[in-house]
């Protein structure tokens, strides 16, 4: 067979379709194809009967049960997505609550919150020095019971007119803290070239003067938002006091026992060790109680002063807004969980895929070997 006898792919396809041969090689190939097709080979009647007996017209049942994988995926994926979004919406509805006031704060704090509305005239917005009338209009922010030890933390956002006013308000805030017996823990003052400016102050104010401080700080400009949280420390204080009293009694008993001259040396050593431990524990408890008392007597006030240009508009969310916010958060959580699952499962999926691929290649090789024989 010469090189001229080689029949190209297109001509081969043409011959298979029954086109007329154009060369001697093609004539031979066409004759071969005719010879192959000439053979009569029908399935035996016994086989036909056997096969048809296994297929008793199942069309109705089959069409009902048919669930192509791809079509199934087209259903499953949207359903899963809808479920995820639905769950997020339900979470959002449940979590959004029904009230009109913002509920971003815990219930204990919620009562202590002043309304975050701009209590000055909305049209003004100017950072004029607060009038006495305006000062009186500052909403009272209850800071808890005076008979209990409580830690008060407050944060205020106040808008001023410009950088000059910002500087003045910052100094004034520091003065307010010191005048009330407190101090400014930190002051960060920023006036970028792009305009505007902010000052972040953390003030420590004696608990008894928090109310006054909040009123005076709010009056430094237009109150944008105010948040007060109160944490009860009375129980912690009482527990610590009880522990201290018990440790003191224990130490007194140990000291008395050690004064006994008839005490054996071995036991004396043991008692001294125990006494040292109790004294160390007492020191720790005393230190902890001192911290608790300090937290209860000094409030932390975080004040953000900003010019009108850089002030962040207060975030008022209605019920729908809260619902959407909650739903989006839930969706993000779902996405995080899905990502986590994917990260955990990825190595196993990879290994599974690799094993599947190797097995497939092995079977292919085996098939080729079997059919090449």
């Amino acid at each position: 067979m010469s090189a001229n006898d080689v029949i190209g792919g297109e001509r081969m396809e043409a011959l298979l379709r029954g086109d007329a041969p154009r060369s001697g090689a093609e004539e031979r190939r066409a004759a071969l194809l005719d010879g192959l097709r000439a053979a009569q080979l029908r399935a035996p009647e016994a086989l036909r009967a056997r096969v048809l007996a296994t297929a008793p017209a199942p069309a109705a049942r089959v069409s009902r049960l048919r669930r192509p994988t791809r079509r199934l995926a087209l259903v499953v994926v949207p359903v899963a997505a809808s479920l995820a979004v639905g769950a997020a919406l339900v979470h959002g509805l449940v979590g959004s609550g029904g009230g009109k006031t913002a509920t971003d704060h815990p219930p204990a704090v919620r009562n202590a919150l002043a309304p975050t509305t701009t209590w000055r005239s909305a049209g003004g917005g100017a950072a004029a020095a607060p009038s006495s009338g305006a000062l009186e209009a500052v909403p009272a922010a209850p800071v808890g019971s005076t008979s209990r030890l409580q830690h008060t933390a407050a944060s205020l956002q106040v808008r001023v007119a410009d950088t000059d006013a910002l500087s003045a308000a910052t100094k004034a805030a520091t003065r307010i803290a010191t005048s009330l017996g407190g101090y400014a823990q930190s002051v960060v003052y920023r006036t970028p070239q792009s305009g505007g400016g902010t000052a972040d102050l953390v003030l420590r104010i004696p608990a008894a003067s928090v109310q006054t401080a909040l009123v005076r700080l709010s009056a430094l400009g237009t109150l944008v938002s105010q948040q007060v949280s109160v944490q009860d420390l009375q129980h912690a204080f009482e527990v610590e006091s009880a522990q201290i009293a018990q440790l003191r009694r224990s130490i007194a008993a140990l000291e008395q026992a050690l004064r006994d001259p008839s005490l054996p040396d071995a036991q004396r050593v043991l008692l001294r060790i125990r006494l040292a431990e109790q004294q160390r524990a007492l020191a720790q408890r005393l230190h902890a109680r001192k911290g608790t008392v300090a937290a209860g007597t000094t409030a932390r006030v975080s004040l953000v002063l900003s010019t009108a240009k850089s002030a962040v508009a207060p975030h008022h969310r209605g019920r729908v807004g809260r619902m959407v916010h909650s739903a989006v958060g839930f969706l993000a959580l779902e996405a995080t969980v899905a990502l986590y699952v994917l990260i955990v499962a990825a190595p196993f999926l990879l290994l599974g895929g690799l094993a599947w691929g190797l097995n497939r290649a092995r079977r292919r090789r085996e098939e080729r070997r079997l059919l090449a024989a």
């Binding site: 067979m1 029949i7 792919g9 081969m12 396809e13 298979l16 029954g18 031979r28 190939r29 066409a30 071969l32 194809l33 005719d34 010879g35 192959l36 097709r37 000439a38 053979a39 009569q40 080979l41 029908r42 399935a43 035996p44 016994a46 086989l47 036909r48 056997r50 096969v51 048809l52 296994t54 297929a55 008793p56 017209a57 199942p58 069309a59 089959v62 069409s63 049960l65 048919r66 669930r67 192509p68 994988t69 791809r70 292919r364 085996e366 098939e367 080729r368 079997l370 059919l371 090449a372 024989a373």
Partner: protein
């Protein structure tokens, strides 16, 4: 040249797009084609008969997965038939290894394995081909599957399928030529 073959020439009977044909109709239409493919693949009519029956039993069980938009019934059945036949080849190989003698000598079969009416040289030449070569001849020439469908049944690329077919036909021509000379 078409129509010589006794097999039904309707590869894809016109049906509504996506409509699933009845299994019994498909079985009746495609039985000869599947049987012929298996005869060529195995070179053994008795085995092909058993495998054809097994193929249709399996196809009946899997019928709900059949999607007429993805492949023709003949292509789908041939893929199942091939899987069944591969298992048979595997079992035969195991049996051969176990017994170390292959009792069924295909070359000594008196019956014309590949069809009545084949010339003796062509019959002999077909016996000399490997099962892989015979099956591509069966799929492309006898069952008249197009290139992509045949490649899909064989699990190879279309180019590899064409190459295998050309090689098989060239070998047949050579062997027939040798016999005639």
């Amino acid at each position: 040249m078409k129509g010589v073959n006794a097999i039904s020439s309707s590869l894809d009977p016109p049906r509504a797009l996506g409509a699933t044909p009845r299994f019994d109709e498909v079985a009746a239409e495609q039985l000869d084609a599947v049987y012929r493919y298996l005869v060529y693949l195995t070179g053994d009519r008795a085995a092909a008969e058993d495998l054809a029956a097994e193929t249709f039993e399996k196809a009946f069980r899997l019928w709900r997965r059949f999607d007429p938009r993805r492949s023709a019934p003949r292509t789908w059945l041939c893929r199942i038939a091939r899987t069944v036949a591969i298992d048979w080849f595997r079992a035969e190989a195991r049996r051969k290894r176990r017994e170390e003698t292959y009792s069924r000598d295909l070359g000594e079969s008196v019956e014309a394995a590949f069809g009545d009416g084949l010339s003796a040289p062509l019959e002999a030449a077909l016996r000399e081909l490997s099962p892989a070569e015979r099956e591509v001849v069966a799929l492309r020439v006898l069952l008249e599957l197009d290139g992509p469908s045949a490649a899909r049944v064989l699990g190879i690329s279309q180019t590899a399928c064409s190459t295998r077919l050309s090689r098989a036909l060239r070998r047949l021509e050579e062997m027939i030529g040798d016999v005639r000379e």
